[in-house]
């Protein structure tokens, strides 16, 4: 179909749907934890600005969560619809992990979400806080299971191959497979980072527009503290993750580094910029820093690690995609650390809330966390190719044997529907963010929140309860 094979269409469809999907859970994980902190601070300090921020961000959370649920539903079916030979081969391992994710996480989130979003005045404050907490814990449990499953596909362990299928023999080894701890930490921290940058950018937007209130300042300040602590931490975690990959998936590291071959007695340079040319098996236009690659990956001056030429061509991942997506991720990470450092310098006095240059930079960095997450996942997933389960099953052997026509139909529909639905959803989310937090929103009895149109349509902060009811009936 249009010159694409069924395999290429199936891969494009998976890449497209999962790339859209991952953005929503990333923000969900971060915002859920943020909402727990806000509600906890509100209950402890009784400062209304925490409650106002809670109500504001819970609306964004609700939109984001809804989009995460429906785009996630697609993922849970796609393993069967498009990758049936993978499911038959590895379902005995990945199936129970997914089942545990549903049982321990999805139900927990969905069960308490209703009370969290709509139950502010239906249950007591303690029970409401408990619901928020359960939703947040649910998001973290979910992260844990799905990353156990993904990590098993990267670094499989605890299984035997019997009759051509992967049979689990040691579940602890399956779950705590070699790359799992690093990947779990890396992704969880990435979700917090992405959320902090998103929250900070929305505060910066308000301040640049001249809207300044204590709630807006508070959210900028909280987000920046998060960035200061977590961005450098992420660099350290990433370094450990890289060493783990070097040990278990050396071809992926060689592609990330654009490292084709070793020269006797010489350290490996760090390739800052290049165009990796797979046909000629070399980098073109390379800018290199001598020995830095060795230093980072072997922590020694002239250590060596396998180059791409040491792997047969059919076992190498696509080099350029992995090479570049890795650089985008690292580059954005460096910018995050710098932004955090800058915020520290501005902490004295009110500069943090006044410096237009800083606020503009913060605004531009708003999507950086999400872009870095996408780039990171492209690095690790494309870097796993040509395998779907590393070293055990090739992607080409995993795909369902569909004709190209039904795949072209489904891919076309996914592109249209996702772009419209999630495009509009993101626009609505930005519209909410643009309004900013309302002070004293929770003072009235009517804390509608998500699913309740009145709160979204007009500011109601000063109105009394009866005014609101009357207004609602008129509208």
């Amino acid at each position: 179909m249009f010159g694409f094979t069924a395999l290429e269409l199936a891969r494009a469809q998976f890449a497209f749907t999962i790339s859209f999907h991952i953005l929503f859970p990333a923000i969900t994980i971060g915002l859920a934890a943020y909402l727990v902190v806000l509600e906890g601070l509100w209950l402890r300090t009784r400062q209304t600005l925490y409650r106002d921020l809670y109500h504001f961000w819970s609306k964004v959370f609700a939109l984001n969560f809804g989009m995460g649920v429906v785009s996630g539903l697609v993922m849970s079916y796609q393993f069967g619809t498009n990758w049936s030979f993978f499911s038959d081969f590895a379902g005995g391992v990945t199936g129970p992990l997914l089942a545990y994710e549903v049982l321990t996480a999805f139900f927990l989130e969905a069960g308490f979400l209703g009370v969290m979003l709509f139950g502010w005045n239906r249950v007591g404050p303690g029970l409401h806080f408990f619901s928020t907490l359960m939703v947040s814990i649910g998001t973290l449990i979910s992260t844990t299971w799905i990353l156990a499953s993904n990590s098993w596909m990267q670094t499989p362990a605890g299984f035997e191959i019997i009759d051509g299928r992967a049979v689990p023999v040691d579940w602890l080894a399956v779950i705590f497979n070699p790359s799992f701890p690093y990947r779990l930490l890396h992704m969880t921290v990435a979700a917090f980072l992405a959320t902090a940058l998103f929250v900070a950018a929305s505060a910066a937007w308000q301040l640049l527009r001249g809207r300044d209130n204590p709630a807006i300042r508070k959210m900028l300040s909280m987000a920046m503290w998060m960035l200061v602590v977590v961005a450098p931490m992420q660099a350290v975690i990433g370094d450990f993750h890289g060493l783990n990959t070097l040990k278990h998936q050396p071809a992926k590291i060689a592609a990330m580094e654009g490292h084709w071959e070793n020269h006797p007695g010489e350290g490996v340079p760090l390739v800052v910029f290049a165009w990796p040319d797979e046909a000629r098996e070399e980098n073109r236009f390379a800018i290199e820093i001598p020995r830095l690659g060795s230093l980072i990956l072997t922590h020694s001056w002239d250590g060596q690690f396998a180059g791409l030429k040491e792997f047969p061509r059919e076992d190498r991942p696509p080099v350029a995609v992995v090479f570049w997506s890795f650089r985008i991720m690292v580059g954005l990470g460096v910018l995050m650390i710098l932004l955090g450092a800058w915020s520290l310098l501005l902490r004295r006095g009110e500069a943090l809330y006044r410096s237009r240059a800083f606020l503009r930079a913060t605004l531009w960095m708003g999507p950086a966390g999400l872009l870095a997450i996408l780039a990171g996942w492209f690095t690790t997933e494309v870097g796993r190719q040509p395998w779907v389960v590393y070293g055990l099953q090739r992607t080409a052997d995993a795909v369902s044997r569909h004709e190209a026509l039904p795949l072209a139909i489904s891919l076309g529909l996914f592109i249209v529907v996702y772009c419209v639905v999630f495009g509009v959803g993101i626009a609505y989310m930005l519209r909410l963010v643009r309004k900013g937090p309302e002070l004293h929103e929770g003072d009235t009895g009517l804390v509608g929140g998500p699913g309740h149109e009145r709160q979204q349509m007009r500011p109601l902060s000063a109105a009394t309860d009866d005014d609101l009811r009357a207004a609602a009936h008129r509208s």
């Binding site: 849970s76 038959d88 994710e101 209703g114 139950g119 959803g425």
Partner: protein, 335 residues
Amino acid sequence: MGIDFSLIWILIIFFGVMMYVVMDGFDLGIGILFPFAPDRHDRDVMMNTVAPVWDGNETWLVMGGAGLLAAFPLAYAVVLSALYLPLIFMLLGLILRGVAFEFRFKAHEHERHFWDKAFIVGSVAAAFFQGVALGAYIEGIPVVDRAFAGGAFDWFAPFPLFAGLGVVVTYAALGSTWLILKTEGALQAAMIRLTGPLLWALLAFIVAVSIWTPLAHPGIAARWFAWPHMLWFAPVPLLVVFCAVQLLRALRGAPHAAPFLYVLGLVFLGYTGLAISVWPMIIPPEITIWEAAAPPQSQGFALVGALFIVPFILMYTAWSYYVFRGKVRPGDGYH
């Protein structure tokens, strides 16, 4: 012979899918009934009756998929790839109607009609293609070498399309009786009026499927009409008649919860009837649950979790419904 994990797992999946049909059934039904309630405030009320719970309802569908992958990976792989297009259309429908819950209330006045339509189209499409998938599944899935051996458009046939309509009617009946339970006044009266014709349509579908499937599939005929099976299964049609009669009587008085419960009864009976027809195949007409089973290490590990956790899930789901109990009124948010 130890514990038959496959048997326990098929019961869990049967239960999970049943929960899904019942819960997402009324919630999709509301979307199907939207065209019959053009008033904006009525639509707000209809949506608010399910807004706090729809996520949880849909989670049972994910549970069905994950349970199938964990316990019967071959069935998951073959059935899902065989029903490729209907399932993709179903998923797209669920996306359209799922986001409408949030988007409708976030949209400006002049944009709202778009999300109303998305809610209707998505709900109808999701229900219809679930029925198509069900119909194609009952018709049978050819398998060669552990893979689907049919065509991509096999589902485009009379019985699956007919089953699609049947599921739309079923969900509409669940939706209308759910609204009788959750609303009052003019909206409730309208739903009471709608429920009668929906019930007759639903009964017509039940009768038609009961005649069509044994005629088309000798195996199903043998299952139902062989002595002494007939004796064991006789209560199923008798209970259908009982539920229908009780439902019609309830509609004549001042109904509240009763119509919903009787429709639940009908759905449960229809669903059980289909299970009786298909048992013990998991990929009809040839592959049994034991042939498609995951290794015992997989089934056992996941079973421990399911048996411990499902009771808790049922408890907090019930609690959430309890928090949002009672009638939903116009202009009445959750406060």
